[in-house]
């Protein structure tokens, strides 16, 4: 079975640009969470989506937004990129909202110049 997939693998953008990151959860999983992992730190929770609705948001500015599609895949959008947005963006999926196990994808490495 395929695990969580993310695209693209790597991305280079310049300050002020916009970026869209994509995630496909494990088949049958309906919940998707997004995390930001800055080099040398642990993942930080950004968003959780379940059944196309936002179910949680971490301490990130409004430049960050996300959505979930009917097939449960998800997009993370970041506007007006800053140098500090350079990080590994991880997507994790879980069966549902009331579950204790999440599975991570390989991440998208975003570099902002």
């Amino acid at each position: 079975d395929a695990g969580v997939t993310q695209s693209p693998t790597h991305l280079i953008k310049t300050r002020g640009q916009h970026v869209t990151l994509r995630c496909s959860p494990i088949s049958g999983h309906k919940s998707v969470s997004w995390y930001q992992q800055v080099l040398g730190q642990g993942p930080q929770f950004i968003f959780q989506y379940y059944e196309k609705e936002e179910r949680g948001r971490g301490n990130f500015p409004d430049r960050f937004s996300a959505r979930q599609f009917p097939n449960y895949s998800s997009e993370l959008n970041v506007n007006a990129l800053l140098l500090g947005d350079s990080a590994l963006y991880l997507c994790a999926s879980s069966l549902g909202l009331l579950t204790d196990t999440q599975y991570f994808g390989p991440g998208t490495r975003l570099t902002v110049l």
């Binding site: 998707v32 642990g42 993942p43 971490g58 909202l97 009331l98 579950t99 204790d100 991440g107």
Partner: protein
């Protein structure tokens, strides 16, 4: 606010030795405590997890010890192998929703042959 504190930041162990990584949490609402293993270029992978109703959980060479009163938990890797060299993250969440996990900052483990 750092809700999960992890130590040490880095650890070097000889092959066959015991690796010990510690975490402390603040939010008493947390009741699910997983450990993740991350290799370079990969997303975190669930290694082992514990709930506060038990004080210890063992899976193969990996053991979690949990101290509810001290709000601390630790990962013990017995008979450490060079293949265990990776970054380890502790995390905490409510068991009803691991999709909103709070992570420690990670421990880079190096096992020398």
């Amino acid at each position: 606010q750092q809700q999960v504190k992890q130590s040490p930041q880095s650890l070097i162990v000889q092959k066959g030795g015991i690796s010990i990584i510690n975490c402390a949490y603040e939010n008493t609402a947390f009741d699910y405590f997983p450990w993740y293993q991350q290799f370079p270029g990969k997303g975190p992978a669930l290694l082992i997890a514990i709930r506060p109703d038990v004080s210890e959980k063992k899976e193969g060479r990996f053991t979690i010890s949990f101290n509810k009163s001290a709000k601390q938990f630790s990962l013990h890797i017995m008979d450490s192998q060079p293949g265990d060299s990776a970054t380890y993250f502790c995390a905490a969440s409510k068991s009803t929703n691991a999709g909103k996990s709070t992570f420690g900052d990670g421990t880079t483990l190096t096992v020398k042959p």
